[in-house]
Symmetry: C2
Subunit: 186 residues, 2 copies
């Protein structure tokens, strides 16, 4: 009989807190405070900070993204990049992702949850694109799929999250073209 609105307020507060101070500094007290809720309400639902975050990450992982299908490799890449870069522009995502990613280096459970989310998200979509290109004959059959995925996903992540530089007009198109060329060269 837990109240759903309270649960939702906590979930939202966790995201905000995660973005604001990061996993390490995040406290149950802080979450409850931000959610306008008693600590009791939080502990009644999750046993610890870790369980809370794992639950949220898993929930996100469930939302499977649709694979683009424009009929060409470059078109698919372009679409993927547009969706991805829009997602990474959200402050919450751009703060939370690197934070959890760093935490994953220390906590195997977070690492696993993140891997799963990655596999069902970015990784899965990229895989679909590559396989469609292979089926279409645009990419040689028998390519190293893992390498192909790194080529597809790496540059935009590096630019958006690591370098944190703006994406000038035309960037995504050029990136899609260059990546397409790289895949065809495999």
């Amino acid at each position: 009989m837990l109240r759903e609105d309270v649960t939702e307020a906590i979930r939202a507060a966790v995201f905000e807190e995660l973005a604001a101070v990061g996993y390490a500094r995040m406290s149950i007290e802080g979450i409850a405070r931000r959610a306008g809720v008693g600590k009791t309400a939080v502990y009644r639902r999750w046993r610890s900070k870790l369980h809370l975050v794992l639950d949220l990450v898993s929930a996100i992982a469930v939302q499977g993204l649709p694979t683009p299908d424009t009929g060409s490799l470059e078109g698919d890449l372009r679409l993927l990049y547009e969706v991805t870069s829009r997602a990474l522009r959200h402050p919450v995502a751009s703060q939370v992702i690197p934070d959890l990613q760093a935490e994953a280096a220390r906590n195997p459970e977070i690492a696993e949850a993140l891997q799963k989310a990655l596999r069902e998200g970015q990784h899965g979509v990229a895989n679909g694109i590559v396989r469609a290109a292979v089926a279409r004959g645009e990419v040689r059959d028998g390519v190293d799929e893992d390498l192909a995925l790194d080529l597809v996903s790496g540059p935009l992540y590096w630019r958006s999250v690591v370098v944190r530089a703006e994406l000038p007009k035309g960037y995504l198109g050029s990136l899609a073209a260059a990546t397409g060329a790289a895949l065809r060269a495999l």
Copy 2:
């Protein structure tokens, strides 16, 4: 008249602590404990955790890497990837880099120090490789240099740090070939 051996012990302890628990959880007490030193010795040298870390990051940034020069784009890339992947294999690097990178999203001073280190390290070397390729005529003149750098550095970082998967034999060679093709297509 600060004793240099004490200073060095503290520096080493900071790296270990940073790798073990991360910037957020790292405490002056913990550093002093690990270094076998009094808190006094730390505070006498640095005013805060932030100053300490900024100092270390800046120190690393100074070590300029030599630009590879094998005479071909692919050879240069291959060499860069070998050096980079070896560096990223060190546990300290693979724990500390994502951690500071996440922290940079919250702290402009860390972000700036990291940007500088990046520019004088990976970024600088990659830039040298691309320009040499342009001079050699392997890459079209007038390419978007930033995009080129993303193509060069992104995939390996994604694979090593984000996906955290092993690099099978032959991976670096294939990656260099694919990246070369992408650059030539720009």
